[in-house]
Amino acid sequence: MTEILLPADGVGELQLVLPTLARLTREARTVMVIAPPYVPYVAGWEARGVVMSCVDIVHADERDVLWAAEQCLRSASCAAVLAWPVKADDRSLRRLQVAADTGKALAFVFRDRRHAVQASPAALRLELEGTPAWQVRVRKCRGGNPPVSAVPLASGWS
């Protein structure tokens, strides 16, 4: 499970995951997008190589997001699950982590940056920064020390 912390929407969070999604969907494996904050724009996703017929967009209430994500991960029938939980605590994230392990699926959980101070059971924890330039800071990575410096990210519009 990867937890991605955002200062605001639209700072390159999809750019991080779209290449992976493109690879998975080209192999005709299913990707679940649960409660996205905006509508995925098909032309934009397809331009980055994602096969949209393999992408299921699940509309869920605030309280059902974690349930839906866990069901999808545990089922082992989807390759990756993207979720935008509003309220998620340590315990619910741990459940997702366990579900992702049992279902052998990739989980990406997008949360606000203010949760960075809380401990997290995620195997990989990334924080995105929008200013002065787009960059990714690794907060935690299982089995190694996180790199000290941030990794720059190309601006996402081209």
């Binding site: 700072v11 999809l14 904050p37 509508v39 724009y41 839906a68 089922s75 279902g103 996402g156």
Partner: protein, 470 residues
């Protein structure tokens, strides 16, 4: 030809018991006119207290102070009988209904389901699951199987040569012969079927008529038995009612599991699936509450059907207590099982994608899962839809499109952004009243986000935010 007979000694009682949660309280089915009520059937606890079939109700009440009394319903019993015939149809194409029994021709089924002991245990497991007590026998003729099942549970006579030997020790009273023979033969000193076989036919025919001789011939297979083959109906309908009112949806889960289990058994017998069925909850007054359970594809797995129905039911607010529940399935499309890869490496507890989608839809709503497709319309609001379209043509070269689209554009707040690319004029839509005339730009906001914004043609201000390049 080999016939299996499944004798259902407690059909009416099991039909009542399986609707109720398991319990130990004594229960009695009563029948007969109001002045002379008699016990039609009694469960194990009641029988242990000395109540037996045919007893007068007053005598039963003297034996046991308190028991649950239920009116015996012959129509109800016939319905269970038909359900079991539908279930048996899954194992054989030739199924016949006898009183309190179902017979099925199994000689060809054995090729498919394995040798008789394994096939028999399959039948027994199924009946156990459905909640019916049973006795099973196998014989070369249906009538012999019917007789043997009543005498010896589990007996299997596979060849016609030893059929006579197997039938010989059967007492006349249990040989299911015509009624006058059953009464007359013992008074002649004839006690078993073997003795009847030894009597001269002409004498028997003169004494008891042709019916007895024909019956004996059918028993031994000298004459073929006419069987009205069972044909399953084209719709499934099952109803359950309670003596008390149910006020909470949770209490409906148990009967629901029974109903969906019966539906699955029926569908398996028909080799069909169901895509949509209705649950009707009946109240004391007013119209019944209808819950429609729909699925993406035809299904017939008992767990899946139960999961879906339960998800729909749990979201229901009961306005009135429920007295009865009915499950109606009219559309029964053919069922195409999903193929699984032989070298599938997925974990054992995995559930198939279709079932996952059903489960999500059951809890989150019918429209919860969406697939987006690109259309040929250049207007961002109509550039995609969740209805499958014809393959969209490759679009002309334009500025890149964002990955997030706002459901409706709203003004961009904050200090003026830095323009990265643009403008791209989108001006179209005059034919359906939704015409737009906009200049789209890619801009960078003060927070570092890349945004897709538009403004009126020729201006660079009053930005409306329409998407993010995330």
């Amino acid at each position: 030809m080999l016939w299996a007979c499944i004798l259902l000694p407690q059909l009416a009682l099991d039909g009542v018991l399986r609707r109720r949660p398991p319990s130990d309280e004594p229960l009695v089915l009563v029948s007969g006119p109001a002045q002379a009520r008699i016990v039609h059937a009694a469960n194990a606890t009641a029988r242990a207290a000395g109540i037996y079939r045919g007893q007068r109700l007053t005598a039963a009440q003297a034996l046991l102070q308190q028991f649950v009394m239920i009116e015996h319903d012959a129509e109800d019993e016939a319905r269970w009988h038909r359900l079991l015939a539908a279930w048996a149809y899954r194992y054989s194409a030739e199924v016949g209904l006898y009183a309190h029994a179902v017979v099925l021709e199994v000689s060809r089924s054995l090729n498919l389901f394995g040798p008789w002991p394994r096939f028999e245990s399959m039948l027994r497991d199924d009946l156990q699951e459905l909640g019916f007590r049973h006795r099973i026998a196998l014989a070369p003729t249906p009538h012999a199987a019917y007789v043997l099942a009543g005498v010896h549970d589990g007996i299997a006579v596979t060849s016609p040569d030893i059929l006579r030997d197997a039938l010989s020790p059967v007492p006349i009273a249990r040989a299911r012969l015509p009624i006058e023979a059953t009464q007359g033969l013992p008074s002649m000193g004839i006690r078993t079927l073997g003795q009847v076989f030894g009597l001269p036919r002409a004498g028997l025919q003169r004494r008891f008529g042709t019916e007895l001789v024909a019956q004996l011939d059918r028993l031994t297979g000298d004459e073929p038995t006419p069987i009205d083959s069972y044909r399953p109906p084209d719709a499934f309908e099952q109803r359950m009612e309670w003596t008390h009112e149910i006020e909470h949806v949770e209490a409906l889960v148990f009967p629901l599991r029974r109903l969906t289990g019966d539906l699955a058994a029926y569908l398996a017998g028909r080799d069909g699936g169901v895509q949509r069925f209705e649950l009707e909850l009946e109240h004391r007054s007013g119209p019944p509450t209808r819950v429609t359970v729909g699925m993406l594809a035809a299904a017939r797995d008992a767990t899946l059907l139960f999961d879906c129905a339960r998800g729909r039911l749990e979201r229901l607010e009961l306005s009135q207590p429920v007295l009865a529940m009915r499950l109606v399935a009219r559309e029964l499309p053919p069922f195409v099982p999903a193929g699984r890869d032989l070298f599938d490496t997925r974990p054992v507890h995995a559930i198939p994608l279709e079932q996952l989608r059903e489960r999500l839809r059951a809890r989150l709503g019918e429209q919860a899962i969406q697939h987006l497709h690109r259309t040929v319309d250049p207007r961002p609001e109509k550039a995609q839809s969740d209805v499958a379209h014809v393959k969209a043509a490759t679009l002309p070269e334009t500025l890149p499109r964002p990955t997030w689209l706002l459901a409706s554009p709203h003004p961009l707040r904050g200090p003026p952004p830095e323009v990265l690319a643009g403008p791209e004029r989108i001006e179209t839509g005059w034919w359906d009243g939704g015409d737009i005339r906009r200049d789209y730009y890619v801009v960078r906001t003060s927070q570092g986000q890349c945004a897709w914004v538009f403004c009126a043609p020729g201006e660079q201000g009053a930005w409306m935010l329409h998407g993010w390049f995330a």
